[in-house]
C-alpha cells in the first residue's frame, strides 16, 4: 500500500477515536462536576470522593478495560460485552476523577463569597451551586479541560486492547499486512494524534482567556 492508501485507512479510525473521547469527556463532566461540589460543600462525605479519585488515579486504564470487558463482560453481557460502551465508560470514569480535581481548583477560583451571597438572598445551597457557581466554574477550568480532552484522545489509543478499530488499532493492523511496513503506519498515526490534540487544547485555552477578559476577571 502506498502512503495515501495507508492514510485513508487510518483516517477511517478517526471517527471512532473522536466519538470515544467526546462521549467519555461528557461522562467525565457528569461525574466530575457533582464530585467537585460534594467535595467542596459536603465535608462529611468528601472522603468518598477522594477514594474515588484515588482508585482512578491508581489503576491503569488498560487493566480497567480488560477487567470490565473480559472479566465482567461474560457475567453481565449487557452492557459490558459492548467494547464501545466499556471504552467510553472506563475513560469517562477516569476523566470524572480528573475533572473533579479541575473543578475543585475552579471552585476555589470563583470564591466562597459568591456562594454566601447566593444563600443570603434565599437560594438553597444546591440552587446556589447550580445557578451561581456552575456557570462560572467553566470559565476557570478551560485550560484544564483542554488538556483533559487532549488526554482522552491520547488515552483512546488504549481501546486497542479490547479490539475496537480506532486509530491505534488500525495502525497495528497496517503493520501486520505483509510484507509488513513498520514505519509509515506509526509515523502517520502519531501525526494524526498530534493534529487531533493540538488545535483543541490550544483553542479552548484561548476561548477561556477571552471570556475571562470579557467578564472582567
Amino acid at each position: 500500500m502506498d502512503v495515501w492508501q495507508q492514510l485513508t485507512f487510518l483516517l477511517g479510525g478517526v471517527p471512532l477515536t473522536l466519538s470515544i473521547s467526546v462521549l467519555s469527556f461528557l461522562i467525565g463532566i457528569a461525574i466530575g462536576l457533582p464530585l467537585a461540589f460534594v467535595r467542596a460543600y459536603e465535608k462529611e462525605v468528601a472522603f468518598l470522593v477522594s477514594a474515588y479519585e484515588k482508585v482512578f488515579r491508581g489503576v491503569p486504564e488498560i487493566v480497567l478495560m480488560l477487567l470490565f470487558y473480559f472479566g465482567l463482560g461474560p457475567i453481565f453481557p449487557f452492557p459490558f460485552s459492548n467494547a464501545f460502551f466499556v471504552a467510553a465508560f472506563v475513560l469517562g470514569l477516569r476523566s470524572g476523577a480528573n475533572q473533579s480535581q479541575i473543578y475543585r481548583g475552579a471552585i476555589r477560583g470563583v470564591g466562597d463569597e459568591q456562594m454566601i451571597a447566593g444563600v443570603s438572598i434565599g437560594l438553597s445551597k444546591w440552587r446556589a451551586i447550580w445557578h451561581i457557581m456552575v456557570p462560572q466554574v467553566f470559565n476557570y477550568s478551560t485550560a484544564g479541560l483542554g488538556s483533559e480532552y487532549a488526554l482522552l484522545i491520547k488515552d483512546s489509543a488504549y481501546v486497542y486492547v479490547i479490539g475496537l478499530a480506532e486509530l491505534m488499532t488500525k495502525a497495528i493492523q497496517l503493520k501486520s499486512i505483509p510484507p509488513g511496513d513498520f514505519v509509515t503506519p506509526f509515523v502517520l498515526s502519531a501525526v494524526l494524534y498530534i493534529a487531533l490534540t493540538f488545535p483543541i487544547a490550544f483553542s479552548l485555552d484561548r476561548w477561556g482567556n477571552k471570556r475571562k477578559k470579557k467578564i472582567g476577571l
Partner: protein
Amino acid sequence: MFEFLLNPIYQGWIVQGLLLTVEITLFGVLLGLILGTLLAIGDIYGGKLAKGAIAVYVEIFRGSPLFVQLFLAVYTVPAILNVQIDHYFLAFLVFGLNSAGYQKGYMKGAMETILGDQMQAGLSTGMSKVQTLRHVILPQALRIVIPSWTNEFCSLTKSTATLAYVGLFDLVSAGMAIKGITYQILPVWIVIGAIYLVWITGFSKIMDMIYERKKIPGIELVMQS
C-alpha cells in the same frame, strides 16, 4: 476464585512483572527529570531557535499517545536504523523522553515562581548565572515541583501497562499469563488492578510526606493542568 494467589509460580510472575513496571517507571521519571530540567532551562534562557525546537519536542511527546510512541520505538526505529535494539532499553528511553516533555512544563513553572528576584539577588552577590541556577534556583525548584512529580509518577506507572503489548513482561503480562492457565479472568484483573493501586497510592503517600518535610513555607506552585 483467588486460589491462584497461593501458587508460588504465579507469585513469581507477579513479582517479576511488578519489578519491570517499577523499574521502567522509576528510571523513566528520573531520565525525564534530568532532561526536563535541561529543557526548562533552555526554554527560559535559550534563543528563539532553542525555544522553537523545545516547543516542537514537547508538542510531539505530549501530543501523541505514549502507546504510539512505544510502537514507534520498538518497531519503527530499529526498522529505519536497520539494527536490533534491546526492547527494554527502548522502552526505558521512550518513558524518559515522554516524561521529559511533561516535566519540562512542571520545572519551568516551578523555576518561574522563584526566578525573578532571586536571580537578581544571586547576580548581585557576584555569582554567575549558571552558579545562581545551580545553587539557588534549582534546589528550590526541585522542592516546589515534588507534587507535580508525584502526579507524573502516577500517570507514568499507569502507562507501563502498555509494555505488555510490545512483548515485555510487565504486570499486565503476568496477569495474561496467569489468566491463560487458570481462566479466572475477573479475579486476575482485580488482583492486578489492586497491586497497581496499592503501589501507586503508597508511593504517592511517601512522596506527599517528603513534600511536607521539604516544602518551602509560603511558596506553592499553582498548577493549571
